[in-house]
């Protein structure tokens, strides 16, 4: 008699490959002999994954239409089955998949929109944390400012795109249908959930360099100098008020030695 591990291995192999026949361990009795019975499991799994991707990537779906989306989702799911029973964040690699998906060649920004949607999803389920108001910065003694470390919100994601990905998302999602989309301009965006709702902000020039520096554990002074190097007109005070205004800072830490910078967490 075949053992349980053997039965599950052949069952799983047949689930993963629609070209394979139903596994040999199934009873050949009159009621259950038909291979369409096994196909119910194949279908349940695929429909569940496609519906999960439809839920997680509504703007990509709207951009390409239902039929194309299902085709892309089915192809993705076949080659990228979930590794975890927690499907809340299923589709992390969907943007990278769309970059390479031949049928989506004519929509080159699709991968960036998918990465933005996944960032929103991850922010939605990320740990909760209360943002600090900017007046907490005023309480820091002037000599401590340069070496100050800012702890950023656990839901924060930064994305850079050579396409206007934030505007495309806003115009397509219904969040702001009147948004003008200038396809000649790339956009950097920040996504985070400081309270109950996920926020999306299109960043000014050098904003991403500055925030990435802070996220990597650089001091305020070091992150500001790196941003100013990239953009001569970088204005620290306006970027700080934007960052705090967004709710992206949750803690301040003074007194760390400048040459002992903590490593990035992300």
């Amino acid at each position: 008699m075949r053992g349980l591990a053997d039965i599950q291995a052949s069952f799983a192999a047949a689930l993963a490959d629609p070209e394979r026949p139903a596994p040999p361990a199934l009873r050949a009795g009159a009621e259950t002999a038909d291979s369409t019975r096994f196909d119910i499991y194949r279908n349940n799994i695929m429909v569940g994954l496609i519906e999960g991707l439809e839920r997680n990537f509504p703007v990509v779906r709207r951009l390409v239409g239902d039929a194309f989306f299902r085709h892309a989702a089915r192809t993705y799911a076949r080659h990228n089955p979930p590794r975890s029973p927690v499907l809340l964040l299923y589709g992390r690699g969907f943007g990278d998949f769309l970059d390479q998906f031949e049928a989506a060649r004519s929509v080159p920004y699709l991968g960036d929109v998918a990465r933005l949607e996944w960032a929103r999803l991850d922010a939605y389920h990320a740990a909760d944390a209360d943002p600090l108001a900017i007046d907490r910065l005023a309480a820091v003694a002037a000599p401590d400012l340069d070496g100050l470390r800012l702890t950023l919100h656990p839901s924060l994601h930064l994305l850079g795109s050579r396409f206007p990905v934030g505007s495309i998302w806003a115009a397509t999602s219904g969040a702001d249908p009147a948004t003008a989309v200038d396809m000649a301009r790339g956009e950097d965006v920040a996504v985070l959930r400081p309270g109950p709702t996920v926020e999306l902000r299109i960043l000014p020039a050098a904003g991403r360099t500055f925030i990435e520096g802070l996220a990597a554990g650089r001091s305020l002074g070091a992150a500001a100098r790196a941003a100013a190097e990239a953009h001569a007109d970088f204005d620290l005070s306006s970027h700080l008020s934007g960052l705090f205004g967004l709710g992206a800072v949750i803690a301040l830490e003074t007194g760390l030695p400048v040459d002992n910078q903590p490593q990035a967490e992300k």
Binding site: L4, Q8, E31, H125
Partner: protein, 294 residues
Amino acid sequence: MPVPSRAGVGLKADHVDAILDTRPDVGWFEVHAENYMGAGGPPHRWLTAICRVYPLSVHGVGLSIGSAGSLDKAHLARLRALVRRYEPGLVSEHLAWSSHAGIHYNDLLPLPYSAETLDRVADHVDLLQETLARPVLIENPATYVAFEASDMSELDFLRALVARTGCGLLLDVNNVLVSATNGAFSAEDYLDSFPLEAVGELHLAGHARERDGRGAEILIDAHDRAVPDTVWTLYERTLGRSGPLPTLIEWDNDLPDWTTLLAEAGAAERRLRAAHGLSGAAAPSGRQSHARAR
């Protein structure tokens, strides 16, 4: 809060505002454990609010208790954290498998019923109950195929599992009709032999009707419509033997509005009240203490 022998409803994000605004007279709510395994965010916020008002049942759909391989330790830890956080009145999982070699097959897959499978499932239920430090209920599956390697009946398997682990059972009445139709056995005979003394919860749902490749009628456990008369009749038959038990309306796909779901719960409540009259008040408390005992 303990889950009462009343009708409960599967909690859906779309209905949370209506529920918290109107505080309907529903006995309890059930959630799928995996939908609340994010680190934070609105789902935890609304579940916390629901738990202040209503008893909760946590229903796992992804632990893969029937896997030939080991249980996923990370997933067990997530389940333990969720149960500690919300202290639900009931915790349940399925007699099924869904993970193999690191891949999660997003469905409740069938098991051959054999001594080897029983050993494996009993070990996993033991580990689950030790991890959670409480008994769990194990649900009978909806099946579409059977295995050559099965040499015991599903009922004998469930009875042996209860005897070995001290777990309780979750009897899904719709699954019984689906499996009976697909496997060409009598749902009534199955229910009449079910070890009801171990049951701590019932599930009711709707199913889809299709034809298999040979033209035979098959039922699909779709959870996408109202409970049909055939399932209500089997439910009444079960209550006639068991007395009142916590009963869930499962409606997961093609969701109706909240009012429709509430009416479904009302239809179950009417039958529960009738069963109170039939079996007397002592039956449900006796059964609940079984579900708590180890």
